[in-house]
C-alpha cells in the first residue's frame, strides 16, 4: 500500500527494496533448482543396527542380534514389488558367493502375506531365512526401526553390529559389491 506514495517520493532506499527482494527470491529459487538434491542418507549409517525379533516363514522366532560377530545383510522386500523381483536373483547369488565369510542374509517381507512371500522365496531360490515384518509387536516393528519408506531397502551390517551402508531403492551389482565389501562379507 506504500508503493503508490513511496515511489512518488523517489526515496532511493524504498525504491530498491522491491527489486532487491524479488531478485533475492528469484536467485534463491535458481539456487534451489540447480543445487543437487540432498543425498538421502539413512539416519542409521554408522549407528548400531536396531534389533528386532520376527517370525520366519516357518514360524520360528528369529532375533537379529543373535548373528552378532558375523556380517549381516538385511533386505526389506515384498512379493508385490517390481524392483524386488529384479534384485532377487542378485541377492540369491550374493548369498552363495559370500558364504565363505559366514555372511548372514536376511529377507524381511514387508506388508506381505506369508504364502505369497514363501512363493516369492521359492521362485527366486532365496537360500536364506525370510521373516515377516509384524507391526503389531514392538519387537517386530522393523520397518519403523529401520525407517524404511519403501521397498526394497537394504542394510549392510558389520560384525560389530554397526550399519555401514544403507541402500534405499533397488540394488545394482556395483552397490551390492561395495556394500558387501564394506562389511567384510567378501
Amino acid at each position: 500500500m506504500q508503493n503508490a506514495n513511496s515511489v512518488q517520493k523517489q526515496n532511493p532506499i524504498q525504491k530498491f527494496v522491491v527489486p532487491i527482494v524479488l531478485l533475492a527470491f528469484v536467485a534463491a529459487l535458481g539456487y534451489g533448482l540447480t543445487k543437487p538434491a540432498a543425498v538421502n542418507t539413512s539416519s542409521l549409517e554408522g549407528k548400531p543396527a536396531p534389533d528386532f525379533t520376527l517370525k520366519t516363514l516357518e514360524g520360528t522366532d528369529l532375533t537379529l542380534s543373535s548373528f552378532k560377530g558375523r556380517p549381516v545383510v538385511v533386505n526389506f522386500f515384498a512379493s508385490w514389488c517390481g524392483p524386488c523381483v529384479d534384485e532377487a536373483p542378485m541377492l540369491s547369488q550374493a548369498a552363495i558367493d559370500s558364504a565363505a565369510k559366514k555372511t548372514v542374509f536376511l529377507g524381511v517381507a514387508y506388508s506381505d502375506k506369508a504364502p505369497l512371500a514363501k512363493a516369492f522365496r521359492d521362485k527366486y531360490n532365496l537360500g536364506f531365512p525370510v521373516v515377516m515384518d509384524d507391526d503389531k509387536l514392538e519387537a517386530g516393528r522393523s520397518s519403523v526401526k529401520y525407517a524404511i519408506t519403501g521397498v526394497p531397502e537394504t542394510f549392510f551390517i558389520d560384525a560389530k553390529g554397526i550399519v555401514v551402508k544403507a541402500i534405499t531403492g533397488p540394488l545394482d551389482a556395483e552397490s551390492l559389491q561395495a556394500g558387501l565389501k564394506g562389511i567384510g562379507a567378501i
Binding site: M1, N3, A4, N5, V7, Q8, Q10, K15, V18, P19, L22, V26, A28, L29, G30, Y31, G32, L33, T34, K35, A38, W80, C81, G82
Partner: protein
C-alpha cells in the same frame, strides 16, 4: 506427413504468426501507426487457427493411439476409455502447456476482436503475444508433445492412475487454466497502461470484466479441485496445503485483493501503483506456481516429475518481473494519486485492510511452501512445513477476512458517521452475539467455529439490513411495492448484488470449512462378511468383496449397506501400476457426509478393514463455491439503469 511432423509444424507456424503479431503490435503502438497495429491485431487469427490445429493433431493422435508421438507413447493407453483419452491432452506436462497456449491464443483472439480500439490496445495485444510466444516456444522446444518416437511401442504407458480415477479430471484443470489465462488480459492492459503512461482508470474499467471472469474460474477451479481430492484421495479432507494447492490459491488471493482495491481507484483515483502491483503479482504467481509444481523443486502429489521445463519457467518468471519492474520504475514517477481518503472508517478503509490481510496470507503461503527449499539450500538438511503451520497462521487471517467481509457492506464510501454505522450494525451485531451464544449453549466450544458463526451471522444480516435500507430509500423516492423496489435495485446494480451473493457464498464456504475441520471424526474397523456394526451413528453392514476386471483397471470393492442404502468403497489397480488408488464411497448429506474407505481387503477370507469418517457440513463448501460463481456471473450483467430521479438514489449508486 505423420502426426508428429504435422503437430510440430503447426506449432512452428503458430509461433511465427505470434512473433509477427508481437512485432507489429509493439511497433504499431510505439510508432503510433494504426496500420502496423492492425496487422498485428489480425495476426491473432492465424495464430489461434494454427494453435487449434496443433491441439487437434494431438487429440487425434491420442484417440487413434498413435504411439509414434512421444506424448501418446508416454501418457496414453489404448485400453483407456474414450473420455480418458480425450482428457489425456492435459494429463501430463507437455499437453497441458499446449492447452494453456491454445486457451491463451483464444483469449488473445477474443481481446483482439472485442477490445476498444484505443492507444492501449496495441500494447496490450503485444504483451499477450509475448506471453503466448513463450508458451508456444516451450511447446516447440523443451516441452514438445510431438517428438517422434523412432520405434513406436505397441501401446502407451497409460495416464497417471490418480488422474483417470475421476471425471473431475475433465473439468478442474481446464477451469484452472482458463482462470490463469484470463489473468493475462488485465496484466496485459496494466503493462499497456504503464507503457503509454495512461495510468488512469481506463485500463481498470476495461479489464474489470475479464478480471472477474478469471477470478470466477479460479474460484470454481479451486473449489472443484477440493471436491476432487475429497472424492479420490481417500483421507476425508479436501485441502492438504500441498505445494500445487498453494500455487493455485496465490493468484486467487491477489486477484481477490485486486478486485476490491480497483474499486477504490475507480472512485477515489488513488492506489494506482498498488493496483498495478497486485495484478502483476496475480499474473506472475500463475507462472511461479507452474514453475513450483513442474520443476520438481518441491515435492507434490501433483507434480508431473522433474522436467527441463523448470528452469525455463523460472526464467520466464524472472524476465516478467524484470521487465515489469523496469517499466514501472520508468513510468511510476508519473503516478500521482489525485485524491485522498476522507476517513479510515469507510469502505475504502475496509478494502485496504482486506488488501493487507490477503497479501499477508499470500506471503505466508509462499513462505511456507518455499521454506523447505531455502532451508535445504542453506543447511543441506531437509525439513517440512505442513498443514498445522498453514492452519495456525491462516485461520486467524481467514477469520479476520471473514469479519471484514461482514462489516464491509455496512460501511459507505468516503466516510461514515458513527451514528449511521451504529444504526446499521445494531441488529446484525446483536444477531451475531446471539448466534454464538446459542451455539455455545448447544455445546460448540471450538473458538474458531464460534467466531465463524458470529461473523457469518453478522455478514448475512448486514447484507439484509443494507439491502432493506436501499429498498426503503427507493420506495420513499419512487413509491411502489418492496418487491418492485428490490427488482429495480437488482436491475440497476447487478454488480453490487452479485457481489453480495458472492459474499453469501463465501459465508457458506466458511461455515463448511469451520465445522468439517473442527468436528471431523473417524473410526477404523475390521469387518467379516455378514457383520453389522454401528459406526459414528450409522448402521453399517458388510456383505463381502466384489471384484470387476476392466481393460484398464481391476476393481476390488467392499459391498456395504449403510442406513439401508448400498455403497461400494473400492480400491482400483491400474495396469502395471501396483499402488492401489482407493475410491471412497460417500453418503452425501447437507448436515454432514459419511465417508467410507476400503483400507485393505483379503480376497481369501473376505475380511476387510474399513475407515469411516464423518464430516459435518462439509458439502457446504461445494454448495458455497457454486453460489460464489453464480454471484460473480451476476456482476457481469450490464446494469439496466432506470433514470435516477432523486438525490437519494444517487447516493445509493455511489455506494455500489
Amino acid at each position: 506427413m505423420n502426426n508428429s511432423n504435422l503437430g510440430e509444424f503447426s506449432i512452428l507456424i503458430a509461433l511465427v504468426f505470434c512473433i509477427w503479431g508481437f512485432v507489429n503490435s509493439a511497433l504499431g503502438g510505439s510508432r503510433r501507426d494504426p496500420k502496423l497495429a492492425e496487422v498485428g491485431r489480425r495476426a491473432a487469427i492465424p495464430t489461434f487457427l494454427f494453435a487449434t490445429f496443433a491441439l487437434i493433431v494431438l487429440e487425434v493422435a491420442l484417440l487413434t493411439n498413435d504411439t509414434s508421438v512421444n506424448y501418446v507413447a508416454n501418457h496414453s493407453a489404448s485400453t483407456s476409455p474414450l473420455w480418458v483419452k480425450i482428457v489425456s491432452l492435459w494429463g501430463a506436462l507437455a499437453g497441458s502447456i499446449l492447452l494453456w497456449a491454445w486457451l491463451l491464443a483464444g483469449f488473445l483472439l477474443l481481446v483482439s476482436r472485442i477490445a476498444k480500439n484505443d492507444a492501449l490496445r496495441p500494447y496490450a495485444l503485444a504483451t499477450m503475444f509475448a506471453v503466448l510466444t513463450f508458451f508456444l516456444g516451450v511447446n516447440a522446444t523443451v516441452g514438445s508433445p510431438f517428438l517422434e518416437v523412432p520405434l513406436p511401442p505397441v501401446d502407451g504407458n497409460g495416464p497417471n492412475a490418480l488422474l483417470q480415477n475421476h471425471w473431475m479430471m475433465a473439468v478442474h484443470p481446464v477451469l484452472m487454466y482458463i482462470g490463469f489465462v484470463g489473468l493475462s488480459v488485465p496484466f496485459a492492459y496494466a503493462i499497456a497502461a504503464m507503457l503509454t503512461g495512461r495510468l488512469g482508470e481506463t485500463w481498470l474499467v476495461q479489464t474489470r470484466r475479464w478480471s472477474i471472469v478469471a477470478w470466477a474460474f479460479l474460484s470454481a477451479a479451486i473449489v472443484s479441485g477440493g471436491w476432487w481430492s475429497y472424492e479420490v484421495l481417500g483421507w476425508g479432507g479436501y485441502w492438504a496445503w500441498d505445494p500445487v494447492e498453494n500455487a493455485s490459491i496465490l493468484p486467487w488471493f491477489f486477484t481477490t485483493a485486486y478486485l476490491h482495491s480497483l474499486q477504490i481507484q475507480e472512485r477515489r483515483r488513488i492506489l494506482k501503483g498498488w493496483n498495478l502491483g497486485l495484478i502483476v503479482a496475480a499474473f506472475s504467481s500463475t507462472v511461479f506456481g507452474t514453475f513450483l509444481t513442474r520443476s520438481g523443486i518441491v515435492q507434490s502429489v501433483h507434480s508431473f516429475s522433474k522436467s527441463p521445463i523448470g528452469p525455463v519457467f523460472l526464467g520466464f518468471f524472472a524476465v516478467t518481473l524484470a521487465i515489469t519492474l523496469y517499466i514501472a520504475y520508468k513510468r511510476l514517477s508519473l503516478v500521482r494519486d489525485d485524491h485522498s481518503l476522507d476517513s479510515p472508517l469507510s469502505r475504502e478503509g475496509a478494502f485496504l485492510a482486506g488488501n493487507l490481510l490477503f497479501s499477508s496470507f499470500a506471503f505466508t503461503v509462499v513462505l511456507g511452501t518455499m521454506f523447505p527449499v531455502f532451508y535445504e539450500a542453506f543447511t543441506n538438511k531437509t525439513t517440512s512445513v505442513g498443514a498445522p503451520f498453514f492452519n495456525q497462521v491462516g485461520i486467524p487471517i481467514g477469520l479476520a477476512i471473514l469479519g471484514l467481509m461482514a462489516i464491509g457492506p455496512a460501511l459507505t464510501w468516503r466516510r461514515l458517521e458513527g451514528v449511521a454505522l451504529r444504526k446499521t450494525l445494531m441488529i446484525p451485531g446483536i444477531l451475531a452475539v446471539l448466534t454464538s451464544v446459542i451455539a455455545f449453549v448447544l455445546g460448540i466450544r471450538d473458538i474458531n467455529v464460534l467466531l465463524t458463526l458470529a461473523f457469518s451471522s453478522l455478514a448475512i444480516s448486514v447484507l439484509f439490513v443494507v439491502t432493506g435500507n436501499a429498498m426503503r430509500q427507493r420506495r420513499q423516492a419512487e413509491g411502489g411495492s418492496s418487491l418492485k423496489a428490490l427488482g429495480e435495485l437488482l436491475n440497476a446494480y447487478p454488480r453490487r448484488y452479485g457481489a453480495y451473493i458472492t459474499h453469501f457464498g463465501m459465508v457458506v464456504i466458511a461455515i463448511g470449512i469451520a465445522f468439517s475441520g473442527a468436528y471431523k471424526t473417524e473410526r477404523e474397523l475390521a469387518f467379516k462378511p455378514g457383520e453389522t456394526k454401528t459406526v459414528l451413528g450409522h448402521e453399517v453392514r458388510y456383505y463381502g468383496l466384489v471384484g470387476e476386471q476392466r481393460p484398464e483397471k481391476t476393481i476390488q470393492a467392499a459391498k456395504l449397506e449403510v442406513d439401508g442404502k448400498e455403497f461400494y468403497p473400492a480400491q482400483n489397480y491400474y495396469g502395471t501400476q501396483r499402488e492401489a488408488v482407493s475410491t471412497p464411497a460417500i453418503q452425501y448429506k447437507v448436515g454432514g457426509d459419511f465417508y467410507m474407505v476400503l483400507v485393505n481387503g483379503d480376497p481369501q477370507d473376505q475380511s476387510v478393514s474399513l475407515k469411516f469418517i464423518s464430516s459435518p457440513l462439509i458439502s457446504w463448501i461445494w454448495i458455497g463455491g457454486l453460489i460464489v460463481v453464480i454471484g460473480a456471473a451476476l456482476t457481469l450483467i450490464p446494469a439496466i439503469v432506470s433514470e435516477p430521479k432523486t438525490v437519494s438514489s444517487n447516493v445509493a449508486a455511489a455506494s455500489d
